[in-house]
Amino acid sequence: MANIEYLLLFLVGSAVISYFLTRLNSFIGSIFTIFATMFVFVSLAAYGFNMNLDTTVSLLPWFSFSQTYLGFFFVIIIAFIYLMVSFFHPYFLDKYPYKNSYNLLFLLSLAGIIGAFYTDHFLQLFFFFEMIIWTTMFLIPQGKSREAAVSYFGFSLTGSVALLIGIFVIYQNVGRFDIQAGLAGISGTTSVFVFVLFMIAALAKLGTFPLHIWLPLAHGNAPHPFSPVLSGALVKLGAFIGILALIKINPIGPVIGAIDLALGQYIIAFIGSLSIVFGTLMAIKEDDAKKLLAYSSMSHGGYILVAFSALNGFAFAGGLYHILAHALASAGAFMAIAAVARATGTTKMKELGGMIHKMPITYLAYLIAIISMAGIPPMGGFISKWLIFQAVIDRGMILIAVAVFFGSVGSFLYVFRPLAALFLGQEFREYKHVKEAPLLMLIPTFIIMGLNIYTGVIPKQIIDFINNIIGENTAFAPVVATTFTVTATYGTLNAGLIALIFGVGVAIAFIIFILMKKSRKVELMDTYTAANFVHDEHLLHYSVDFYAPLERMYEKQSHWMKKFYDALAHKVKEVGKLAKYLFMSNNIGVTLIWILVIIVLLIGVVAL
């Protein structure tokens, strides 16, 4: 029996050990981190599935744990991403300025995550949240930029302050810090207030519109192996809070009759759809591969919000499925980009090209990840999007459907861009020496590839587990699923059949291909150039401003949010300067005024 308390202590202990080991030798330290993460993941997977974890507390005072299907769903996904990413550490650590503390912080943040999802106490939830934020905040600036960490911290702080206020409001009303009881205990205006506060926290963590500025900055500038964690795992904390608010609190407000949905949920769905559109448009425009994927995370965050706010069993299942599918897809994509960045030292798409000839396996990993990300069968993303579509159509949420469909088609555009610019196209001479990623890095790549396909072909186990969550948290009917099929409002989806038929189709195409005459192999540079002689492969590589005609149409509007936040930051700075002037001035007059004010106050207090 694994005990959560022991797991936490084990993680903290191994964090310290890994610090010293890394100090000794970064490779050994990283290998140790892999084993520590693996141990945690395996014990969680072995005991957590059937809720067999031991939640008794003996060593840690004031802490209390309980296990839920919902919490486990998140924990197992995130722990899995952590495990996969830890395989990358041995090859990246030497590049970072504070490599000793890297593994330490990494393991500590995992401890924070396990705590956050297993606790049943609001204050502990907040504590673990802060633990995650603080550890990751020191991980992010080890990448390219410190500004990114500041931005990340600022927005996370907004979220956690909102969360804390919400917690206190609940405590004030219910008198307990217990999560289940607390959420169940509030009603009326209080619940609306808590709903808003919790949603602010959720939006900030999920990086959705309008609290999304940190997302591309943090994802784009974080250390390469940490971006998959940020996008695949940590962002999902927001989804967790969102579920608490949207499903558990679910305040009674005015109901929109046409779609039979409460106003609060509709507003969240609308924010989600704005996030989808905005994230899609920005991702299409982005030149840095990691920032592009970050914007795609934002758009997928929007999908998750839409799914949970539709208040429909299929949508709820679809949202959870989407969390899993997107975690796998975005981790896969980010890890592929990380492998490329390790080999070439850049993630800018205009500087890269033709990596497929050097790194075919990484390419395949990226391909499968983006197929899932774009929601194309036979990968996991299709099933989740299909479930979400059912709910959107069922409710008749037309405006939200526009955004959902736009994001779905738009994702073809942006996921294809790194594929074309970074992996395909001309082979650049400066990367002639590049080799495929080392075996240790290919292990997680293969595993994630396999899981991406698995989630898209055999939905049974996942849907069954999601049904447990539905039964535990909601009153929705469970989703009917057999080994290969999922049934929803408007018909049945046979994922296995689709994969099989796709295989048949490819087999037929392959037979046609193999029967016909063998092709003549030519060089990449030997392409049709209107018979001109071009000697520089950079000139034959189309990757800068890929969607120029489309980008031109919203170029001017694309900086609005950034400008708004810049102006806001400017105002905050001004207020800060005023405060500084008032309280920390060298001016004797100001000091005298303060002394006078204090004396008057004191006299007043004494007199009263």
Binding site: F405, F513, M525
Partner: protein
């Protein structure tokens, strides 16, 4: 299961043969329109077999793999397509979204292969194709949403059956605005003028296909014929009440394709941003209005 798969392959083959002949007949019709004789009706078959018999070039494994994946995806999509209410390989699994998204596998494969050839024009063509797709797909999906909501199923056979039951009109009549949007989107899907920006032979040397010759190009031609078959039959099933037997299907199919082709032949070509602006102006607006009318007000003729 094996029987079903064989039926599916049969449908895909039938679709290929059908569209290739009708494409040839349409070339003849267009020739007559331009006061020419026009080619033989089986000219497209000759073109495809000729291409398959030639010895083309290969730009590396992704160039070949992409073509195989593209053709495979399209054949797989065609295998799900119902011809009539009864002739369908996989009953109740012919979900509308499969056609939209499985078609995308084929397109992704083709885009991958084209970009893998290393020709900048191919990439530009792919960019244009994807942008056009972003334009026409959203209005079309909104109309499809309305149809699914009204007919209460997303299975194509069920939608056909819904339209064929007494008292229900074809959706092109029941949802007139949606029908208009459907026609416009179909033209975008088929890459007919004025939305054929991504082929543009004189401008970007036939776009994605610039580097293809020999069997690869032949396979892309097969792919194109089958995908036209899928798109036109999708339109027939969604808007024109499907078909209760194969002859009705043939008549409807021929009519739709010919009409679209004739419209396209009297048009010029849009610029790529004009395509996007066009689709996000009128068709999207009409689609949303139609959805409001049909879903919230319940006005379905």
């Amino acid at each position: 299961m094996i029987v079903n798969i064989l039926v599916g392959i049969g449908i895909a083959l039938f679709g290929f043969a059908l569209q290739t002949s009708i494409g040839g007949i349409n070339r003849k019709i267009v020739g007559r329109l331009q006061k020419r004789h026009g080619p033989r009706w089986y000219q497209e078959f000759i073109d495809i077999f000729k291409l398959l018999s030639k010895r083309g070039i290969s730009h590396g494994w992704i160039y070949d793999f992409g073509v195989i994946m593209a053709l495979g995806g399209i054949i797989a999509t065609a295998m799900f397509m119902p011809l009539t209410v009864d002739i369908v390989a996989f009953k109740q699994f012919d979900n509308f979204f499969i056609f939209v998204y499985l078609l995308a596998v084929g397109m992704l494969g083709m885009a991958m292969s084209a970009s893998g050839s290393g020709n900048p024009w191919a990439s530009i063509g792919v960019m244009r194709a994807l942008t056009t797709m972003l334009a026409y797909e959203v209005p079309f999906l909104i109309v499809a949403l309305t149809i699914i909501n009204v007919s209460d199923s997303s299975s194509l056979t069920a939608i056909q059956a819904f339209q064929q039951t007494a008292g229900n009109n074809w959706f092109i009549i029941a949802l007139p605005l949606g029908g208009l949007v459907g026609v416009l989107s179909l033209m975008g899907m088929l890459g007919k003028k004025p939305f054929e920006t991504y082929i543009a032979p004189a401008e970007i040397a036939s776009g994605p296909m610039v580097e293809y010759g020999g069997k690869q190009l032949g396979m892309l031609f097969i792919l194109h014929e089958i995908s036209v078959f899928i798109e036109v039959s999708l339109f027939v099933h969604l808007f024109l009440g499907g078909a209760s037997n194969i002859f009705i299907f043939l008549i409807k199919y021929f009519t739709v394709y010919t009409v679209v082709n004739l419209i396209s032949n009297v048009n010029g070509r849009f610029k790529i941003d004009q395509v996007v602006k066009f689709f996000y102006k009128w068709p999207l607006l009409l689609a949303i209005i139609q959805a409001f009318i049909a879903i919230y007000l319940g006005w379905v003729i």
